[in-house]
Symmetry: none
Subunit: 455 residues, 2 copies
């Protein structure tokens, strides 16, 4: 097992390289870090070349660049595997809550502490190191591999869809694995079967031309803030069902098998309430909390604004009232169709005396659901079982990862999340860290994955 | 008619003084303007002294100060008249909707434009200038006059009741006139027979400890913004009836005579809609728009706030949502009892998964209704008929002036509103203005009023 010896021998160097990678403050959200994101792209391309990957290069997009490289000599009878990750990171503010500076990473307690150590610099190095171990020891890979790393995941990948659409031939693959992903816990692996999509909108209710005196005009004309409340109240029942006609039309119901699979995964309601601080769980009747979180569509009000919001009172009858809403979608809901039924509902339920405008928002994404019997995820599950000594949970995620739907849409391939971070690693918070044993375990997992894929 | 010549000769100076007065941003609602309210009080006391009023002084309350001054040398056989007004103003936000800055007043088209020009800085200067004209020309006043100006009318005069109670001897009078008042139109006077009372509250709905990720927790726990909307929607029917149990219990129904009197006053719905810019009139079924505005209680949402309100979207499930509400009350509703039925309603209608707190607001006031055959208002009506050449309408007002009920309660006198603003002057909105011809007409009216009261 030469590749395992190689990983053992080189692990200390790999950790030093991760520290160097984390030192680059590649914050995609901040204009002052544009050059740092580009520097991180150069670092990744150089690291791919050092690993033996061929033609590694930085490619421009209309925003932050991407990095591409490949090794395609396994033969036409072997599958081609695209591996995805990202080299940009979240902003590190507030700096004063970090125990050590976010861009001066340190190793402590078997962990690397620094912004991006877990999300996703540590994660995206894992498959590069696995490929290096195989190329430096066996001189070849068991399958054809393409690496595709982006620098704008943390800002929602706005420039990625046109790039992917223009580079389908370059990126086309039989299977896709995302190195940006979580395991359930350090000793329990998971396969994430579904992600929710998202549809965003703002409802604007308008009444008088400008804010009016609530004494002089109250009772004479309608109040837009009350009308907005009445519209919103028609969208959800008191017990949490979304009451917008057509909202659930395209939802694939959970099968008894799906529900049993979800129920098998430990869930502690007291811990969940302690984590959020909410007084109780709440949501659509007929489903468990985890079913609602993982597999049922939601409608949430993200913000309300109207009239006087300062200290004390200002007795106005507001000119307008606004609500920002987002729906999290499950297969086979379509963001555009959901926005259409919401728009129709708002118009149908606008009370007398005001007008309501429905403004669809930018940045929607379709839901993601692995088809049953999906081959790549089945193989990934076997590898995880081999490495962890237990079968992975089949989980779902309430969040949205737009690149997963972008890749599905453009390349027709359901990506498999095959990453080794954990959700307790302060991913978007101060004191982000990455477990070094997961770093090592992930490298072995990727080697075994590539080997199994060849079989 | 020396006093008339004096008014003519000094009018340009009076306007400059009004501009100086409006330049003081005496916003009583905002802690950062406390010193400005005090500065406005000093300005008023100095202006009273300049007019020849004696002992003008700023007196402390438990909040913003008041200003008192008097001239009591008309003789014991002459009545003592208390004249009221206020030198604080509404907040001026949103600043960007003003055509000229709210605290940099300008004269344009025969009007002074600026926050407080009409409500009530221009209005409260009127009787001071009338008294000055008499004192500077005749050397004396026909009746004994006390001036009483406050600096917290726009926040509901919370500290005035204890101040008035502690100063009954100082404030006692045979008649009270309020310089904070409206005429029906520039060529049609009115006597206001009734004012609405007010009850204020804030509803705070709380869910998770802090804002949560709407993907990771949407569907798992309740959304406070949606819950707030649902609570508000239970408080008013789609056709405008307040649906809070007990809300209408103490309302004195309009008699057929009351309704006929209201119907005699011209009302043009198209003009009303043009004035407010609202798309339609709206309110409690079974009453005309004017009946609702003048003589029926109301419930309005003054402000909503929750979650993300900036540009674009932030996919949070908010920790809390707040609504500021006010009810305008008619005789014989009691603010405390109305707050009690609202509080009970909110608790009874709080959806599952959140908590709702009902916070009663400061500055409630009872409704005000002139007794029939009230003497001071009869004299005021005669003066208005003389000045305008037509009899005043007997109207009601949807607004609340807590001091009217405070003065009635403490001094046993029904104040008469004798002011010269108009309800189209954007009193609590951007681009507030005051008509300079009404400024001048009001000064003459106050001179004639004092003269008639001596007879």
């Amino acid at each position: 097992m030469a590749w395992q010896s190689y990983l053992d021998a080189e692990q200390a160097r790999f950790v030093q390289e991760l520290l160097a990678f984390v030192r680059i403050p590649s914050v995609s959200a901040k204009p002052e870090n544009i050059a740092d994101v580009a520097r991180a792209a150069d670092w990744v391309a150089a690291r791919l070349t050092a690993a033996g990957v061929q033609g590694a290069q930085v490619l421009p997009t209309t925003g932050h660049p991407v990095v591409y490289g490949d090794w395609l000599h396994a033969g036409a009878d072997k599958p081609t595997v695209l591996i995805y990750g990202h080299f940009d990171v979240q902003p590190a503010e507030p700096f004063d809550l970090w125990d050590s500076p976010p861009f001066q990473p340190v190793v402590r307690d078997g962990r690397v502490w620094g912004r991006g150590a877990s999300d996703d610099k540590g994660g995206m190095m894992v498959p590069i190191l696995a490929v290096e171990a195989l190329l430096k020891t066996a001189g070849r890979l068991p399958v054809n591999v393409k690496f595709f790393f982006e620098g704008q995941e943390e800002i929602g990948s706005p420039d990625l869809p046109p790039f992917v659409a223009a580079n389908v031939a370059r990126l086309t693959a039989d299977m896709i694995f995302s190195a940006d992903g979580l395991q359930y816990s350090p000793d329990q692996p998971q396969i994430v079967e579904a992600l929710k999509g998202i549809a965003k909108a703002e409802i604007v209710v308008r009444g008088p031309r400008s804010d009016q005196h609530s004494g002089l005009h109250g009772g004479g004309i309608a109040n837009p803030a009350m009308a907005l409340a009445q519209i919103l109240a028609t969208m959800k029942s008191a017990d949490g069902l979304v009451t917008v006609a057509g909202f659930y039309d395209d939802v694939i119901d959970l099968t008894p098998q799906d529900r049993a699979a979800i129920a098998r995964i430990p869930y502690d309601e007291a811990s969940y309430l302690a984590e959020t601080g909410a007084p109780a769980v709440f949501g659509e009747p007929g489903y468990s909390t985890r079913e609602r979180l993982w597999a049922r569509p939601t409608l949430d009000v993200n913000g309300l604004t109207s009239g006087w919001q300062g200290i004390g009172s200002k007795t106005v009858l507001p000119a307008e009232a606004r609500a920002k809403i987002t729906c999290r979608l499950v297969a086979d809901q379509d963001p555009a169709r959901v926005l259409a039924v919401l728009a129709a509902h708002v118009q149908a339920h606008c009370p007398a005396g005001v007008t309501a405008e429905f403004q669809p928002g930018q940045g929607g994404a379709g839901p993601f659901l692995l088809p049953s019997g999906h081959n790549a995820s089945g193989i990934a599950a076997q590898v995880l079982e081999e490495i962890y000594g237990k079968a992975p949970y089949r989980t779902r995620l309430g969040g949205s990862i737009p690149v997963m739907t972008t890749l599905l849409g453009a390349l027709g391939v359901h990506a498999v999340m095959f990453g080794f971070s954990h959700d307790d690693e302060n991913l978007h918070a101060p004191n982000e860290f990455f477990r070094l044993d997961a770093f090592r375990k992930g490298q072995e997992a990727y080697v075994r994955l590539l080997q199994r894929l060849a079989a």
